[in-house]
Symmetry: C2
Subunit: 306 residues, 2 copies
């Protein structure tokens, strides 16, 4: 049975929208469109502007196609159970009842979610971890937070789940969060660039440039890279002990390095995991920046089958 | 709507069984009985003996009461999805398809589960964490493993979930598992007794005796106890960062110390959690050794509502 969803992924700068045909285990994007995310003068007015823009983009995609449901995902801290945009640094809102405000604009069922968790669900159902029931999807960018998919469903914990970036793994360096030893203080894309710059004394253009330097045989880059790999491995060993996922999917900027990241990381995991741990499959994300939209479509159509 | 379940909690030495009336948010035990867990000459024959004993005890409880379903929980490593008793050190079985073998004995729907996780579900639905959606239930005994309840459902990960006892929190002491720095190497009931004995040079009768010594002002006991509290706090901070449960329920031998455990633990958690972490409620388990049976009853009746 195929359902048709209109999916909207509201980003800090851009909104992506698509008409998606969803059936069990598969999704096809039939049409898509993008536009700039509107900004109001303050957070609440940005929320209203975003809701207006979602309504417009949905109307545009519905103009020449039937849809069964709408899915909208937004960034920041999102509480799916309460339907709240709890906080968005980029869009400025706090405690906005976005689900109800959005639902009031449409005559179709509406699902509301979090961009990263919805993207994680898409990787679990349609992407790098398809066929797996228990999956951790970890985009590594400026920060590190994981989307957790347990029993095939998003685990949100009121919007607080997945803060693996701020687990203390004992390296002792301070983190802007106020803690010390945090995974992301050494292993985020931003940290890799920052720590390489601190080591060699000259600025570098992001983690991708550090990856290039590793490939070119730069020993400082290799040291910073290995420290990032070690920190990620320690974080993933903790997640594996407690959560025993079938798969861990790496995405975001750092994962653009591909096997330069996954090969040494898999080797460290093999060294560190104990015999009784379930070995997770380590995969690179497959859906790129379409994951959020596909996840929104999954959330939208899932509601129909209840 | 009330359903009636016959619940059996197979322990390493004793089987507990009950006729339980379950309705949403409540359960009443109408009859209960216990008997010694039978042992065969080897693992597979113990499995057959246990299945026979379960059949007998169910027949006994059904003799003068109607039941809608049967729930059976067993110890060791259990894979609920596959219905397998993967391994039990006490009962000797490996890869026993217990769910199917049990189901073949009865003309009622049968649910099969893990004793600790089922007990955790019971604490989440009926006990110390009732009303909470996301709960970690942590019995602290010879070892430390957590039952995870996410979105109101047991999270099993093929039987591997919840090994918080073997997360490296950096204390550097070796653990029999082969790792170092494990939570349970310092914080389990067994570790508390062992470490106190090592410190004072005379054997002690379990963690309860160490707790008594703490209350009596013994500085060695206080030091060992505080180290256990610190280790638990570090483990719980990691769990809180990643899983953000609404509640953490402590059970098992060490939790018999009550507020001697929870007061300093709550204080350490308050010091260590960062502002963006969701504060979990810290509770003592309420259901004691009836949790497994009640959990089996919940699993049995849940199947009826699907």
């Amino acid at each position: 049975m195929t359902s048709h969803a209109i999916a909207v992924d509201v980003g800090g700068t851009e909104m992506k929208a698509a008409l998606v045909a969803v059936e069990p285990g598969a999704a096809r994007t039939l049409r898509q469109t993008r536009r700039r995310t509107p900004r109001g003068a303050d957070g609440p007015s940005t929320a209203e502007s975003v809701i207006d823009a979602v309504a417009e983009i949905v109307a545009e995609l519905r103009a020449d196609a039937d849809a069964d449901a709408i899915g909208v995902v937004v960034p920041g801290i999102v509480d799916e159970q309460r339907g709240m945009g709890v906080y968005s640094a980029n869009l400025g809102w706090r405690e906005e009842p976005l689900r109800d405000k959005l639902a009031a604009r449409f005559d179709l069922p509406l699902a509301f979610g979090h961009d990263v968790r919805a993207g994680g669900l898409a990787e679990a159902r349609l992407g790098a971890a398809r066929g797996m029931r228990d999956v951790i999807v970890m985009p590594i960018g400026t920060g590190i937070a994981a989307a957790l998919v347990f029993n095939g469903q998003i685990y949100s914990a009121g919007g607080h789940a997945g803060e693996i970036g701020h687990v203390d793994i004992g390296h002792g360096e301070p983190c802007p969060c106020g803690g010390t030893g945090c995974v992301e203080a050494v292993a985020s894309s931003a940290a890799v660039a920052r720590r390489y710059t601190a080591r060699v004394g000259t600025p570098v253009d992001g983690a991708a440039a550090v990856a290039d330097a590793v490939r070119a045989g730069d020993p400082h880059a290799a040291a910073v890279w290995q420290e990032a790999v070690d920190a990620l491995a320690r974080g993933l060993v903790t997640l594996t002990a407690v959560l025993a996922p079938e798969g861990i999917v790496l995405g975001g900027g750092l994962a653009m390095a591909g096997r330069l990241l996954t090969d040494p990381l898999a080797a460290r995991l093999d060294e560190m995991l104990l015999p009784f741990h379930r070995r997770p499959r380590l995969e690179l994300a497959e859906l790129g920046d379409t994951a959020g939209c596909l996840g929104a479509a999954l959330l939208a159509t899932e509601g129909l089958q209840r």
